[in-house]
C-alpha cells in the first residue's frame, strides 16, 4: 500500500511540474500559428518633401533613412518632413486624414493574422483622393507590423516631390 502511494505521489508531482510546462509550450505554439486578436493599430503617417538641394535626410525621418537612400528615392538628395501624424486606428473603422497637399487619405485596419509572435501580419486598405475629391488609387496591402508603405509621384511647389509613408503596428 505504501508503495502504491509513493507511485501515485510521484505521478502527481510529475503532472504538477510538467503540466504547466507543456501548457506553456502549447500556448507559445498557438501564438505563433493563430492570428493575433489585435483590436487596433498604432499608425504613423509621414508627409515628406524630396528635393535635390543640400540638406540630407531630416533627423525626424531617421526610421526611414535607410530606405530613402535606395531606389527610387536615391534620385533625391534631401528629404524633409512636412508633417507627421500619429493615429490609433480601430479595427474596421476608417481613418480619414487630410494631407498638406489638400489630398485626403483614408486608412482601414482590417485585422491581423499570423506572422511572427512579435510582428503580426496586418491587412490595411487605403484610398487616396486628390484635393478635388477625385479618387487616385485604392488598394489593400498585407505587411508585417512596423513595415512601411510609401506612395510617391506627386509634385509639389519648389520642384519638390511629395512622398507619403505609412507604418502601422499592432500588439
Amino acid at each position: 500500500m505504501t508503495r502504491i502511494r509513493r507511485v501515485a505521489a510521484a505521478m502527481a508531482l510529475a503532472v504538477a511540474v510538467l503540466g504547466p510546462l507543456a501548457a506553456g509550450e502549447g500556448r507559445a505554439e498557438a501564438q505563433a500559428s493563430q492570428p493575433a486578436a489585435a483590436g487596433s493599430a498604432d499608425c504613423q503617417i509621414f508627409e515628406i518633401k524630396a528635393t535635390n538641394g543640400e540638406g540630407g535626410v531630416d533627423p525626424a525621418l531617421r526610421p526611414l533613412a535607410r530606405k530613402l537612400k535606395k531606389p527610387p528615392f536615391s534620385s533625391w538628395k534631401t528629404f524633409k518632413l512636412l508633417k507627421k501624424h500619429d493615429k490609433k486606428i480601430e479595427k474596421m473603422k476608417t481613418l480619414n486624414l487630410g494631407l498638406v497637399t489638400g489630398s485626403k487619405l483614408t486608412l482601414l485596419f482590417r485585422g491581423a493574422s499570423g506572422g511572427q509572435p512579435t510582428k503580426p501580419r496586418l491587412r490595411l486598405t487605403f484610398t487616396l483622393d486628390d484635393k478635388s475629391g477625385k479618387r487616385k488609387l485604392d488598394g489593400t496591402i498585407n505587411l508585417d507590423s512596423g513595415d512601411y508603405s510609401l506612395f510617391g509621384g506627386d509634385s509639389i511647389e519648389d520642384a519638390g516631390t511629395y512622398i507619403l509613408a505609412v507604418s502601422c503596428s499592432a500588439p
Binding site: 488609387l137 489593400t140 508585417d144 510609401l150 509634385s155 516631390t161
Partner: protein
C-alpha cells in the same frame, strides 16, 4: 650393574648415554663413572666413533640413492612429510613446497633431460595448481557479461543533425516576410510597385507604390 661401593654400568647404558638418551640423573651417574674409570671412558669414545662412522656412511648412501633413484627421493620425502603431518596425507601445496626444499638434485637432473618440454609442463602445472583461481575468474567474468547484457546500454547517443533550412538562419515562422499588395487600383494613371527589403534584423521592409500619369510619362501624376 653395580659392584661393591663403585657403581658400574652396562654397555647398553653406556651406549644410551653416548646417544644422549638417558635420564638426567642416570646420565650424571654415568658421567661420574666414566670420569673415574679409564676403561669405561675408552669404551665410550669407541662407541661415539663407531656411531659417527655409521651415521656418516648412512648419509652418504642416502644421498647417492637420491641422485640415482628419483623415486627413492620422492618416497623418502613423502615419508618425511607424512611423519611431519602426523599421519595425514599432505596437500598439493605442501608437496610442491617439499619438492622445492628437498629435491634440488632431482630437479637439476630432470631439467637437464626434459629440455624444452619443461616449460610446457610448468605451464600445465601452474594451471593445475591455480585451477581454483582460474575457474573463479572465469565465472566472475561470465557473470559480469551476463549482467551487462541483461541491463543493456545505459547511455543513448543522440545524434543531432542540422538541416539546411535552419543553419545560420532564423526559422521561417520568425523571419520577416515582405509586404504583399493584395489589390491595387490606380485611376487616371499607372502605378509601379517596388519592394525594399530590410537591411538587417533591426530594419523593416517597405512597399513603394509610384504613380505616373499615362498621358505624360515624364510628368508625375499629382496625388
Amino acid at each position: 650393574m653395580k659392584t661393591g661401593a663403585r657403581k658400574t654400568f652396562s654397555d647398553v647404558e653406556l651406549m644410551l648415554y653416548a646417544d644422549g638418551e638417558l635420564p638426567a640423573e642416570q646420565a650424571r651417574e654415568v658421567a661420574d663413572w666414566v670420569a673415574e674409570d679409564g676403561a669405561a671412558r675408552l669404551k665410550l669414545e669407541s662407541m661415539r666413533q663407531v656411531g659417527e662412522a655409521v651415521r656418516t656412511y648412512t648419509e652418504l648412501e642416502t644421498d647417492e640413492a637420491e641422485v640415482e633413484l628419483p623415486a627413492f627421493s620422492d618416497l623418502w620425502q613423502r615419508i618425511e612429510r607424512r611423519v611431519q603431518a602426523n599421519g595425514h596425507a599432505p596437500g598439493r601445496a605442501e608437496v610442491a613446497a617439499g619438492e622445492r626444499i628437498g629435491a634440488e638434485p632431482v630437479r637439476a637432473r630432470r631439467s637437464s633431460t626434459a629440455g624444452a618440454a619443461g616449460w610446457w609442463a610448468g605451464i600445465r602445472r601452474w594451471f593445475e595448481d591455480h585451477r581454483g583461481h582460474v575457474l573463479t575468474g572465469a565465472i566472475s567474468a561470465g557473470a559480469a557479461c551476463a549482467v551487462m547484457l541483461a541491463l543493456g546500454p545505459r547511455e543513448t547517443v543522440v545524434e543531432r543533425v542540422r538541416t539546411g533550412a535552419t543553419v545560420g538562419g532564423t526559422p521561417a515562422v520568425l523571419r520577416s516576410q515582405p509586404p504583399e499588395v493584395e489589390d491595387l487600383e490606380v485611376y487616371g494613371g499607372s502605378g509601379t510597385i517596388l519592394t525594399i527589403e530590410p537591411d538587417g534584423a533591426d530594419d523593416s521592409a517597405a512597399t513603394v507604390i509610384w504613380l505616373s500619369d499615362d498621358q505624360d510619362d515624364k510628368k508625375e501624376a499629382p496625388l
